[in-house]
Symmetry: C2
Subunit: 335 residues, 2 copies
């Protein structure tokens, strides 16, 4: 009894669950696993590594359905990467963090759906003007890059703005079926999930990074620029990145001016730490949902759990309080 | 077909909707109106004005059900105010922002339920240890005082921690039935709502303040210390206050050290502005839900709207996208 929404209909998927195109973490393996489980896997386009994109998209040729996600301002520097992506015949291209207009015509001409992730009403209007078929409303709880408004705030705001013209997907802080069900109550047609899939067997991340996500509480993340500036990545406003707190983040938070002044030197230290798998310096990009994550299962199991729990909640067969099968949610002849 | 939850059962109310004890804004008139509509009104205990508390509680004597809320660290300076409150025979006392333990025995001995608002797991444990009958998990979206974790993060965290021992109520960013339904999916048994009731006929706020809430977008609020420090109110960490942004907030945000140094002088200016109803200086305490608020109706209408919308969403009789009565939420024989 899967959840049917305008999103599942539009993408032809079984469950309204999209996996986020997390940089290099969301490779073809995770993308496939999510889609094979009935969700919609989205390959991370990364920061413009052409060779990696060619390899990963080659793995997905002929596979369906799947999407490919780009950091829009990064793609703008190498717009030819979009051709590599479209050659793989994805069902959707997801653009986040920048103006989608320059890429929209090529995407739509290819037959792929344009998915735009937005963090404000203004960005949502821009995306709709560019012909977005799906909007993702991302809250500040999200891991990795995002902005400041919270999921509970931004989701109904974008739902009201979209006014049924396109499905709205909620992102930020969602890692279980409660979150999916809650977002549907706010008017979303599905969810985009990152961190929960990072802590999966198929994600490309280091095992140590996955373990840190598994062990972390939601207090253990912070949004800022330290991780980016430490690798000389200067994102445009209003975007910052949420990561797990570690020694390096603690050391530089509040000292961003000095960090900027010493970016070259810190960059050497940071790159060495990353290569060595030292996650007290290198950042683990993760969202507040880490507090809900306690294991590292196969991605298919994650999709299945979230879908099943949400279905049970939405049909009143299960209360949100874990483990209870209570009297019906709504009294006197309700669901 | 009202929504039945452990909260409605415990408090003997028709709708799982509590009104927040907003300082002097939540007077006896609002408290009564919310309870008469089937919710649970909570009188604001304010900052220790004994005369006001006596007057307001006198208005509620013999009425039921209702609660009275205190700022715990403020109550600790005048613990005798609790006796005035208990004399009015409220069904519950709500304590927020401080250790409830010193007050819990007297409250429980009176027969009133102890409701504790918490912003972290540690505070939730402290509240349960003190014998709290209801926990309120408050997200940073809330208007007025609160802390930093978001509603989508803190609600399931406290639900998991409470593990069915007591009902958990969600607060922060909720102003409509979508929010109530969403919070129930996260495991909450109800919601505590402030700002939406501020913009009601019965709230004690200035008409100009209510109009500003009605006109504001959710981007128009900010959490900080400027409003408090400008009236020499120094709240303990981790608490700050969310207000509408105005000239005064814009002027002093980022200059808090200087504000502190000039607190006496700024205090005179602030008090004068407040007396004059100048809300470009005096703060309007309001949450991110301002973006969902577009009118100033009677409180009963607010309760009724939220309850009805949530019931329709939870029974699948209405999709969250406003105005649509779609195919059922769940396919193949679902609710």
């Amino acid at each position: 009894m899967p959840i049917a929404t305008p999103l599942t209909e539009l993408l032809g998927i079984r469950h309204p669950i999209l996996s986020a195109p997390m940089d290099t973490i969301a490779g073809s393996r995770l993308t496939r696993a999510v889609s094979e489980a009935g969700g919609f896997g989205i390959l991370g386009g990364g920061y413009g590594d052409r060779g990696r994109l060619e390899t990963e998209t080659a793995e997905l040729k002929g596979f369906a359905p799947f999407g490919i996600g780009f950091i829009t301002w990064s793609l703008a520097k190498q717009p030819e990467l979009l051709d590599i992506a479209l050659d793989a015949r994805p069902q959707a291209i997801m653009l986040s963090f920048g103006d989608p207009a320059p890429f929209a015509p090529r995407i739509r001409a290819s037959g792929a759906r344009l998915i735009c992730q937005v963090q404000s009403e203004e960005m949502a209007r821009q995306a709709l003007d560019a012909g977005a078929a799906i909007l993702i409303a991302q809250g500040t709880e999200a891991g990795g890059h995002g902005a400041s408004r919270t999921t509970v705030d931004i989701v109904p705001a974008i739902v009201d703005l979209a006014a049924e013209r396109v499905p709205v997907v909620a992102a930020g802080g969602i890692a279980d079926g409660r979150g999916l069900a809650a977002m549907m109550m706010l008017g979303a047609s599905g969810v985009l999930i990152g961190t929960r899939f990072y802590a999966s067997v198929e994600a490309n991340g280091a095992q140590e990074a996955k373990e840190r996500i598994r062990m972390a509480n939601s207090n253990d993340t912070v949004r800022g620029v330290v991780a980016d500036w430490s690798r000389s990545l200067f994102w445009p406003a209003p975007f910052t990145a949420r990561t797990l707190v570690n020694d390096h983040i603690r050391r530089w938070t509040g000292r961003e001016i000095e960090l900027m002044q010493r970016a070259a030197e810190v960059g050497v230290e940071y790159a060495a730490a990353k290569a060595a798998g030292n996650f007290e310096v290198a950042a683990v990009f993760a969202g507040e949902a880490v507090g809900l994550i306690h294991d590292i299962p196969p991605a298919a199991e994650i999709v299945e759990r979230i879908a099943t729990e949400a279905e049970q909640l939405l049909t009143g067969r299960r209360n949100s309080v874990r483990g209870v099968l209570p009297s019906p949610l709504v009294g006197e002849g309700g669901a």
